[in-house]
Amino acid sequence: MSHKTTPDICFVQGNEACVRGALYAGLRFFAGYPITPSTEIAEHLAEQLPRAGGRFIQMEDEIASMCAVCGASLAGAKAMTATSGPGFSLKQEAIGYAVMTEIPCVVVNVQRAGPSTGLATKVAQGDVNQARWGTHGDHSIVVLTASSVQDVFNVTIEAFNIAETYRTPVILLFDEVVGHMREKLVIPPEGEIPVVQRLRTEVKPGVNYHPYLPREDGRLPMSDFGGAHRYNVTGLYHDIWGFPTENPEQVDKLIHHLVDKLENRAEKLALWKEYYVEDAEHLLISYGSSARSARHLVETRRAKGDRIGLLELQTLWPFPAQLVREKTAKAKNIFMVEMNMGQVLAQVKQVVQRPDRVFLVNSMDGQMVTPADIGKIMRVVEGRGF
């Protein structure tokens, strides 16, 4: 990257903004497999990564791509893969491995309509729960999303920062519309957006390094494969050396560490945007491309004097329960706008004071949910018919 002092301004797709964000954050390894609608991420990185001194590889399948990302990250590189729907299903095994072994990495899922092959080129947001629970076993994970090309760039950097800080896979859950739409992107000069560098151990060569012994602040400094410290990494429950253990005390400690390091920081990990929430009687909650329709409706109605607002979530998991509880406290009606059968709706209903006042506005036909779709449901709820 050049050392410019002025921002780069370009007109790009969301998928390219993701690439630019990843490179800004210091991406050095990408492994992928062609799949619509995420392929542009691999295409741009095939060209740009070697220029940035990184490595790109097209693997034999989605599984292998995620595995290669795990290996590259252990060798010291900030690493990422990108996929869509069916590919995301295949990556779950190695995502679980990264959770268990605490390998920092970023997984992009540009959502399309499922299940199965579904609608390969059409928009949907049906992978919210899969992103949270797709891999087997109890665990926690971070899932971020965005509704504009600029936000894709910003949350991609944030994804790397979170991955490195907490040694966890972070899922970037975009959707087909956000991935493919073109908008203005402003890339600030290097250094303007903070980038978290990998925390490496200060333990001297020849002195015992315990890869899985948390420091006082809970963080685990890493040592690159090929570096001074030789240690074991395993997907089995392991001790502070990284060696397999079935000791109940150690097993219990590890699972709680894995879950608590993220769940206890849910509020800190919460990213969101809000529009006219303060006095909103009707509060819309949305994320990803559907938040754009929601925002359009909110702006139109506000101009007419309606007390309507929008809470746009950018962190989906850990679910920002406290945030949603606070922001919805004064709302009479809550409209959850998403392109699935109510995956975030279920979370919202659990935390609001009046779950019976939460209504789903969705579309499930491969088409964007429109401001008119939202308006129709609102009229029904208000008792004004269609």
Binding site: R55, L74, A75, T234
Partner: protein
């Protein structure tokens, strides 16, 4: 030789059954690394899941005990970032040839510089003795109570068909030969495959009335022959041992380094 320099003593005793051939392979591997004078910090072992895969816990290398069948894919990521590392990937027959078959084919095709060892005992041992793609038909296993009808394939032929540039085979009986073949494999620049036929007396041997470990090792002695030997010429039923292929071809990481150069120029 001091084997202790190359193992993590604190993790012994190992979990392999008495009479298992895997320890023999570990022994030969460590002797090879020592004879080549490779610094332990330049050694990286990536394994999958199964009895064979536990080998990575015991060596004092950078070690990744990864997922079932996925060792080569994980190793590819490591090697791309640290091409200077000596990467060795021991796998079981089910690990490498069933669930990991696709990764195996494509690692051969790329000719990425690493040593793949197939520890072939013709059975899934860790899960209690189910038949593998290399068991062959007529074999008894817990999932083949009426004898297996699945045909086996030759892992070395597959490796050659897929483009591996060094391919060899030996057995756990031929301990010194394991060492000499591994040495050649480490010295070879490219993707090397060494298949070691090894014994699982606990499941394969007992179920198929092969006798104990000694009898199983004798079977490998009596039913294999070196490539180019008169013995093999006279009896085509014998399993050939030795180096099947050793050719020079562009190595993947070296080729990628050229891409990096090219990308900087354009």
């Amino acid at each position: 030789m001091s084997v202790n320099n190359y193992i993590r003593e604190r993790f012994f005793p190992h979990l392999w059954c008495p009479g298992c051939g895997h320890g023999t392979i570990l022994n030969a591997l460590l002797r090879t690394v020592e004879s080549l004078g490779i610094d332990k910090s330049n050694m990286c072992m990536v394994s999958g899941i199964g009895c064979s895969a536990r080998i990575s816990g015991y060596v004092d290398f950078h070690s990744m005990h990864s997922m079932h069948g996925r060792a080569l894919a994980c190793a590819t990521g490591i090697k791309m970032i640290k091409p200077e590392l000596n990467v060795v990937v021991p796998m079981g027959d089910g690990d490498a040839m069933a669930i990991g078959g696709n990764h195996f084919i494509h690692a051969c095709r790329r000719n990425i510089d690493m040593v793949a060892i197939i520890m072939n005992n013709r059975i899934y041992g860790m899960t209690g003795g189910q038949y593998s793609p290399l068991s062959g038909s007529g074999i008894l296993a817990t999932t083949a109570p009426y004898r297996s009808i699945d045909r086996e394939f030759d892992a070395t032929q597959l490796a050659m068909g897929a483009g591996a540039t060094f391919v060899a085979r030996t057995t756990a009986f031929h301990v010194k030969e394991i060492g000499s073949l591994l040495k050649k494999a480490f010295e070879h620049k490219g993707f090397s495959v060494v298949e070691v036929l090894t014994q699982c007396p606990t499941y394969f041997g007992r179920k198929n009335k092969f006798g104990g470990p000694v009898q199983m090792l004798e079977w490998y002695r009596d039913n294999t022959a070196p490539l180019g030997s008169k013995k093999l010429e006279e009896n085509s039923d014998l399993i050939p041992r030795g180096v099947f292929r050793q050719v020079d071809a562009p190595e993947y990481c070296a080729e990628y380094a050229k891409i990096v150069e090219k990308a900087h120029k354009e």
